[in-house]
């Protein structure tokens, strides 16, 4: 019997590969802008009262960058991340993600763009309790209709689980894992499609110092070893110190942009000094 390659599956996999979606230069020189926000505003209407969560935020993320968004609680960080990742629509302004203007896409197109080019890690509830580790990690493939038992997918899952240091826990259910392990599964799921952008919203918010460090190390490895573009939202300066660049948000506005540069020691000292200057 002749071997007939599954062309459809192969092409879907390629669509999920950042190499084909947004080819870019190697790590050394920061690449082209991969994400741009222009004058983003978001107003929530809460029973008559207007909450202006964002009041004109602009930012640019280049390919391969590790960018952090910092700010006190309620400053609009999560809102900004949702808009950047195409999970919600801004009240004004626009987001350009891998050359697509998100506001111009239909819900279906936006959904498929999320599936193919982004990965998310949230503070809580990243995993589906009914599914085990491998099934949770394979979820984007399952949704895309790619057989998660095919060789390439199995290889990718094995690879990404090794990256987040979870080899051996493949058949565990989320409730059998520690909080830190659960968050690392979430990172694995976010990375398994090799997205153009990884968005993480307070991924360490629930974790103690050590497990939080492990998680940040995993994020860093993905960025440093795989040239993964990362946007990290945090109120924690230690976490933000992993980033190349930090946007500081207050009351829905960017009040500062701090370039830290790529540093393997993640020393939070310079960042804290600057934040103190800003009175935060």
């Amino acid at each position: 019997m002749a071997f007939v390659p599954d062309v459809r599956r192969a092409s879907r996999l390629r669509a999920m590969d950042p190499a084909t979606v947004a080819p870019g230069p190697p790590r050394a020189a920061p690449g082209m802008p991969i994400l741009e926000a222009r004058d983003l505003a978001k107003v929530y209407n809460l029973g008559g009262t207007r909450v202006e969560a964002l009041r004109g935020v602009s930012l640019t993320v280049r390919e391969g960058e590790f960018v952090a968004i910092m700010g006190p609680s309620g400053s609009g960080k999560s809102t900004l991340l949702q808009l950047l990742g195409g999970l919600d629509q801004p009240s004004a302004g626009e987001v350009v993600l891998t050359d697509e203007v998100l506001g111009r896409l239909s819900d279906d197109e936006l959904t498929k763009l999320r599936r193919a080019r982004t990965g998310f890690v949230f503070q809580f509830f990243n995993l589906i309790p009914l599914l085990d580790v491998v099934e949770n990690v394979a979820l984007p493939f399952t949704i895309a209709g790619v057989d998660s038992r095919s060789c390439d997918v199995v290889a990718r899952i094995r690879d990404v689980l090794a990256l987040v240091d979870l080899t051996g826990k493949e058949r565990h259910r989320p409730d059998e894992l520690s909080a830190g392990e659960q968050q690392r599964v979430a990172i694995a799921r976010a990375l398994v499609t090799r997205p153009a952008l990884l968005f993480a919203d307070e991924p360490t918010g629930n974790l103690d110092y050590t497990t939080g460090g492990e998680l940040l190390d995993a994020l860093w490895r993905s960025s440093d070893e795989r040239n993964q573009t990362v946007v990290l939202v945090t109120h924690n300066s230690r976490a933000a110190a992993y980033a190349d660049r930090v946007y500081v948000l207050r009351d829905g506005r960017t009040i500062d942009e701090i370039a830290l540069g790529r540093r393997a020691d993640h020393d939070a000292g310079p960042l804290i000094a600057r934040l103190t200057q800003l009175g935060l």
Binding site: Q82, T111, L130, L131
Partner: protein, 730 residues
């Protein structure tokens, strides 16, 4: 998990108890529906079987309209009709051994299972298997047939036993086949009951029928073929089928509500997971599909289980029906048929209802925003009672679809009634969020004083978790509606089987003679003499033809009926009309028949009388005529004429059912009186029949239009009328 659909499975399995309950709910609905369809199918199949048994391979049957039968000249005329290849005259009489000398060996060839069949010139008789078993008879035994005309010839030898077909209407499978000339001798007959015809090849039945119509002008007769007979039997059962279909609507609705509720709860519980799926790239269509898939799984499992349960119900129903002589429209189903159509239909309806109920929850699932998963606290959205208007629209669509899906030959009115039922159920469901708390408060009142905290807690849990409460209520209603459904079906069957006379005519005990009893035989007098008997009122039953339509008719004593007072008059004065029955002779018609014939009080109706001529027109009347007809002395009979008049008109007395008011019970009447013994050979076997209790209460309670709702609707004669024209001499 290879496919996203597996997620639907897992989420159902995670709530297995709820899923099982829902499946059971749907199963019950589909079960009742399937039972209705399968029983209907079985009843139809039985109708076809009955036709086969009755007509054999005959193509046309010419039946005498009168008791005296078709005269030899008529029989000869029929036999000589071009195109007729076999003309088999038969005599059928009921007697105390229920001999049915009816089956011509040429047309009913294969039913002798032991001994020999009747051949021309034979002296022996063939009896039915049932009779052989019941009475312990075998080939070679002697049998004495009841005959007061020719007792010398009434003892005959059994030469064969025929396979019994228990579905032969009215005969209970007990029949004796005797040679035609013997039958004529025993019953002092000139004519025959009917002639079965085999049409020669190449000639159409219609041609022969037209030919016969041209030839026989001297006496009234009816003519039917297998198709007409089957149609009339089927139409007699349509009412039953419409009723069962209507009943099936209730559990189906409850099943649909369960689905709606279950899916709504699942979505509320899993909204963060759905949001997560959306964030990870699941489209709205995929999310909706997940919900519909869950419904599909529940619906399919429920429908298949429902067909299995429904098969059991249908078997039970068939057994219940078979227990009643006459059953539905004179046809007893053999058993549930596992025909593919009812199975497909039941499963299709089950699935359709399920998926329709899933549409709103599915739509709601697609509205869940991906950022829902970011929320820290899982707040379960309120479920039941929010978008029930949506649900209403959906059921309207389902109902409309049902109109097309439903088998065409069933009454559309039944469906309209189902619609009304759906509307009421929907209203109740919509009001349940309002009703439940109030109900909880009311139910808790007695306990409130003693167990304050407990009462509040219990009530709180009802109110706080309306979805779960509704699920429980839904499950309960399924059970309840099942019980009601089955009860109603069984009840309506039993009532259908009951004689319409039993409802219309007074009395506590109905004695039915199996042959006409003459007034001179004095049986009524004998019965009156029995201790405890207050009144014995003779009743005659016969057929009448009015405007070519064959009708059930009865001759009764008007004064007895008046004394009883259970007939309710919609028009006319009860006293005058009833007393007139005993006097000049008038008729009382049920409202439905009056409407169908477009006659009112005081109108006259030409009826066909026994001698075959058009009867003198009688004035119809259950009231003094406001517009007296030309001949006021003769009134149109339907329900009743004084039985003496009928006897005079028909030259014999038909007072077969005799109702007696009794003090003791059935056995004591028989024990003390032994009417059989007293009457001697004349009535060797009186059938005593205890009147069903419910029938009596129904008559007493439902007064208006009692007559209208009488069982003539179910006897089949009315339906026969559409297909079987009594043909009169022009």
């Amino acid at each position: 998990m290879r496919r996203l659909s597996a997620f639907a499975w897992r989420s159902l399995a995670a709530r297995s108890l709820r899923s099982v309950l829902t499946v059971l709910g749907i199963a019950m609905g589909v079960a009742v529906l399937f039972a209705a369809l399968a029983t209907g199918g079985a009843v139809n199949a039985a109708a076809d079987d009955t036709v086969r048994v009755m007509l054999g391979s005959a193509d046309l049957r010419v039946t005498a309209f009168t008791e005296s039968g078709l005269t030899p000249s008529t029989v000869a005329a029929i036999g000589e009709t071009p195109g007729v290849s076999i003309a088999a005259p038969e005599v059928e009489r009921r007697t105390y051994l229920l001999p049915g000398p009816r089956l011509d060996p040429q047309l009913h060839p294969d039913n002798v299972i032991e001994g020999t069949r009747l051949v021309p010139g034979a002296t022996g008789v063939v009896i039915s298997e049932r009779l052989a078993i019941d009475d312990g008879l075998g080939v070679g035994d002697e049998l004495t047939l009841g005959s007061r005309v020719d007792p010398a010839r009434s003892t005959v030898r059994i030469t064969g036993i025929a396979a019994t077909d228990g579905r032969l209407p009215g005969a209970d499978g007990r029949f004796v086949i005797i040679p035609l000339d013997l039958a004529r001798a025993l019953f002092a007959l000139e004519g025959v009951t009917r002639v079965d015809l085999k049409i020669a090849p190449g000639v159409s039945v219609a041609q022969v029928a037209a030919e016969i119509e041209g030839r026989i002008r001297s006496q009234p007769y009816t003519m039917v073929g297998p198709a007409e007979l089957a149609a009339s039997l089927r139409s007699a059962t349509a009412d039953f089928q419409a009723t069962t279909g209507l009943i099936a609507a209730v559990p189906l609705f409850v099943g649909a509500f369960l689905i709606y509720n279950t899916l709504s709860m699942t979505i509320a519980e899993r909204s963060r997971e759905i949001a997560l799926l959306r964030a990870a790239g699941a489209t709205r269509r995929q999310v909706a599909w997940l919900v519909v898939l869950q419904a599909h799984v529940l619906g399919l499992a429920g429908s298949i289980l429902g067909v299995l349960i429904g098969h059991l119900i249908a078997a039970w129903l068939a057994a219940a029906l078979a227990g009643e002589a006459g059953a539905v429209g004179g046809v007893a189903p053999a058993g549930p048929s596992l025909a593919p159509l009812p199975i497909i239909l039941a499963i299709a309806v089950g699935l359709l209802v399920t998926i329709a109920a899933a549409l709103e929850p599915a739509w709601r699932a697609t509205r869940i925003s991906p950022i829902e998963s970011l929320r820290r606290h899982r707040d379960v959205a309120p479920v039941a009672g929010t978008r029930l208007a949506w649900l209403g629209g959906v059921f309207l669509v389902v109902g409309a679809a049902g109109l097309f899906l439903w088998p065409g030959d069933q009454a559309a009115t039944g469906l309209l009634r189902s619609f009304g039922l759906f509307a009421v159920l929907l209203l109740v469901t919509m009001l349940s969020p309002i009703i439940l708390p109030a109900l909880g408060r009311a139910a808790g009142l007695p306990f409130a004083a003693i167990l304050r905290a407990e009462e509040r807690l219990a009530r709180g849990s009802i109110v706080r978790n309306p979805a779960r409460t509704a699920l429980t209520v839904g499950a309960l209603s399924v059970g309840l509606s099942m019980v009601v459904a089955i009860g109603t079906v069984a009840q309506s069957d039993r009532r259908g089987a009951a004689d319409w006379l039993a409802e219309v005519v007074p009395g506590d005990l109905l004695l039915t003679s199996i042959r006409p009893v003459a007034a001179q035989e004095g049986i009524a007098t004998d019965l009156r003499a029995l201790p405890g008997v207050q009144l014995a009122s003779p009743i005659g039953r016969f057929d009448l033809a009015v405007r070519g339509v064959r009708l059930d008719a009865a001759a009764v004593s008007g004064s007895d009926l008046l004394a009883d007072g259970r007939l309710v008059f919609l028009a006319g004065d009860a006293r005058t009309s009833l007393l007139e029955l005993d006097g000049t002779g008038s008729a009382i018609l049920p409202a439905s028949l009056a409407a169908r014939l477009s006659v009112g009080v005081g109108d006259s109706l030409p009826v066909l009388t026994a001698d075959g001529g058009p009867g003198r027109p009688w004035l119809g009347g259950d009231r003094e005529a406001h517009d007296p007809g030309p001949d006021r002395g003769n009134r149109a009979p339907w329900l009743a004429r004084r039985h003496h008049d009928v006897r005079a008109a028909r030259r014999r007395c038909v007072c077969s059912p005799i109702r007696a008011r009794r003090g003791g019970d059935c056995t004591s009447t028989r024990g003390s009186g032994r009417p059989e013994a007293r009457a001697g050979a004349a009535i060797p076997r009186l059938r005593a029949r205890r009147r069903p209790r419910h029938a009596r209460s129904a008559v007493l309670r439902v007064r208006p239009a009692r007559l209208d709702r009488g069982r003539h609707r179910r006897t089949g004669h009315r339906q026969h009328a559409h297909h079987e024209r009594a043909r009169a001499r022009p």
